[in-house]
């Protein structure tokens, strides 16, 4: 299968007054053409920073990609100049964000904003670009695209704006689409519309999608593979069916159990006790150990490696030899 993206040993740190925040601390994954990888985790786990790193949009000088490789179609993005990256962003790799209102420019029409991408990357004239924009709006299911193309963002509803964002992101037929919480700001019936659209477009255009979200339900609906992150590291990674049917890492198990199940009735929900550790004072050993029911002595001393265990990868001493793993 054609590999679009390969991330190896990615480390993105932020240097702040309070110390060094290791937001992404050694992340590896690959993504193939036409596949969707869901990256899930709670606030501060590094999922968004991972996607920003792929786009090379980490805000410098505070943030810095300190180590690793990001291979896009075999080409290392970390070796590119800013000018080369500009040719890639919005063209070969594009991104949609959580908040469709703040990511569209309020003083330009929808058509104007989609045209910009097409003129810049494909050298189209305004006339050609407008025709293409209308075609894109039609593709994402916006009614009356000939009329909507001349409207401003405030004239559209939240769901429509997110469709416009998707139209813009897909205008140049990118090989990779990064969607960072694309439906979080939307209502559930509109979310269902957008998820259907993303599934349909993936099949028709063969775009590889990196879907960043905190909602395990959304991942279960659209992703082929899931990567669960905790405190800057991948704790579990595998096929979507595998992970939801047989979660192995205690954190993944806890996350799945904390969502109320609508087909079942329980008095109290299972919870993960405690809080995510302070990013400046990560515990030694496994970063989940202080909240883990199964924590052993080894977990507090050594960092378990991400090991392969029948079908999917997991970073936990419950599945492997606790004498291995790095100290610290």
């Amino acid at each position: 299968m054609e590999q679009v993206l390969e991330v190896k040993g990615l480390k993105t740190y932020f240097y702040t007054e309070d110390g060094v925040a290791k937001s992404v601390d050694g992340v590896d994954f690959t993504l193939s053409k036409g596949k969707t990888l869901g990256i899930v985790g709670e606030s501060g786990c590094g999922k968004s920073v991972t996607s920003l790193s792929v786009m090379r949009l980490v805000s410098e000088p505070a943030g810095k990609i300190v180590d690793g490789e990001i291979l896009f179609n075999g080409d290392n993005l970390l070796a590119k100049t800013e000018k080369e990256m500009r040719d890639i962003r919005g063209n070969r790799i594009s991104m949609i964000f959580q908040e469709p209102m703040t990511s569209l420019n309020p003083v330009f029409t929808v058509g104007n904003q989609i045209n910009e991408v097409l003129k810049l990357h494909q050298g189209m004239t305004t006339k050609e670009a407008t025709l293409k924009s209308i075609e894109m709006l039609k593709l994402v299911g916006i009614p009356l695209p000939e009329k909507r193309v001349h409207e401003y963002p405030h004239q559209l509803s939240g769901g429509m704006r997110q469709r416009v964002m998707i139209a813009m992101a897909l205008a140049c037929n990118p090989a990779l689409l990064i969607a960072d919480e694309p439906t979080t700001a939307l209502d559930v019936t509109i979310q269902a519309q957008i998820l259907e659209l993303m599934k349909d477009l993936k099949e028709r255009l063969g775009t590889a999608i990196m879907l960043v979200t905190h909602d395990l339900g959304v991942v279960a609906e659209v992703a082929d593979e899931v990567m669960v992150m905790y405190a800057g590291r991948v704790v579990e990674h595998g096929a979507v069916r595998e992970i939801f049917a047989k979660p192995m890492h205690p954190y993944t198990q806890g996350l799945l159990k904390s969502i109320p199940d609508i087909s079942e009735e329980v008095e109290f929900l299972e919870t993960i006790e405690g809080l995510v550790p302070n990013i400046y004072e990560m515990p030694a050993g496994c970063s989940f150990a202080p909240r883990c029911k199964h924590a052993m002595d080894a977990c507090r001393e050594r960092q378990p490696a991400l090991t392969y265990d029948g079908g999917h990868k997991v970073r936990c001493f419950l599945y492997g030899d606790a004498s291995e793993g790095e100290v610290g």
Partner: protein, 323 residues
């Protein structure tokens, strides 16, 4: 009125005038955020209210406590109509009716420490020495799972889940009977969400509280509520016992809404009812049934006649001509 009813809402309306008042102040438009609600809340139960943005669920909660003045209607608390109370009497009533807000970042004063945030209620409502007040604050902190040393800290020193615990402690300070919870866990991460939901359930049992639980999260509402009401564009379209509502939704909107919940189990694929288009503007809602413009089953009658909320058996109420 039956004995076990704590709150009764009759024909509640909240209309907001909009800024667009025409060139000479004529043709003033009105947003009908809540447009004629009737429901009751029983003692000790949790009534969940679900619906999408703009359906009027938060406005309903606020209007019931008169944090927003309703345009019309009655709110009976233990049989007393609170709409006619003067400010002074209302203040007394607020001891018994409290509110938990969505955003734990915005609803706590950043310049006050926990002792004064929670203790403020005692200052306003009860004559109490500083020592007594301090004891009560400590007691409340323990109740919501915070530690005694937290009393001197400021909101920024807490995580989102802990802040929401402070908000809950504040709401419970005066031992209210009824608490309106407006999206209390929506801003929290799932693992923290479960902790706070469990806490709220525990406190309800311990203190015999009655909740109105407003949320867009259909899973959380199912978990915490006894009965659930579904709102659409300012009106209640269905209200029933939660088992009933989730197992056998009757209104076409409820059906679509429930089918849209993404399932965290990829093996379970429910048939999804995809609604077309968006929610219409509450300035100019559709005639007849408000849902008819998106309803897959709408007929001519739906455009003419407003469906009444009627009992279809066992207290399951639906507002649809064809149920």
């Amino acid at each position: 009125m039956s004995k076990d009813v704590l709150v009764e809402i009759k024909n509640l309306k909240v209309h907001f005038p909009t800024g667009d008042s025409g060139l000479f102040g004529r043709s003033k438009q009105v947003v009908k955020a809540v447009d004629g609600l009737d429901f009751t809340i029983r003692k000790g139960e949790t009534l969940g209210i679900v619906g999408e943005s703009g359906c009027g669920k938060s406005t309903t909660g606020r209007a019931m406590l008169r944090l927003i003045e309703p345009t019309e209607g009655e709110v009976l608390f233990e049989g007393r109509d609170i709409m006619n109370l003067r400010k002074g009497d209302l203040r007394g009533l607020r001891r018994e009716m409290q509110f938990i807000f969505q955003d734990p970042y915005a609803s706590l004063d950043p310049r006050k420490n926990v002792a004064s945030i929670i203790g403020e209620a005692f200052k306003a409502h009860e004559k109490m020495s500083a020592k007594e007040r301090n004891e009560r604050v400590q007691e409340l902190l323990g109740l919501v799972g915070l530690r005694p040393e937290h009393v001197k800290r400021y909101p920024h020193e807490f995580s989102g889940g802990q802040r929401q615990r402070i908000g809950i402690a504040r709401a419970l300070a005066l031992k209210p009977k009824f608490v309106v919870c407006d999206e209390p866990v929506s801003a929290l991460d799932v693992s923290i969400q479960a902790q706070v939901v469990n806490l709220m359930k525990e406190l309800q049992q311990k203190l015999e509280l009655t909740y109105l639980f407003i949320s867009h999260d259909l899973r959380v509402v199912k978990h915490i509520s006894n009965r659930v009401g579904v709102m659409y564009l300012g009106a209640m379209v269905e209200i029933a016992d939660k088992q009933d509502l989730y197992a056998a939704p009757r209104h076409p909107y409820t059906r679509a809404l429930l089918s849209a919940i993404p399932s965290p189990n990829p093996e379970i694929r429910r048939e999804r009812i995809l609604l077309q288009g968006d929610v219409p503007s509450p300035v100019n809602p559709p005639s007849g049934c408000r849902f008819r413009t998106r309803c897959p089953e709408a007929t001519e009658r739906c455009a003419i006649e407003i469906p009444a909320l009627k009992d279809v058996g066992d207290g399951h109420m639906v507002a649809c001509h064809y149920r």
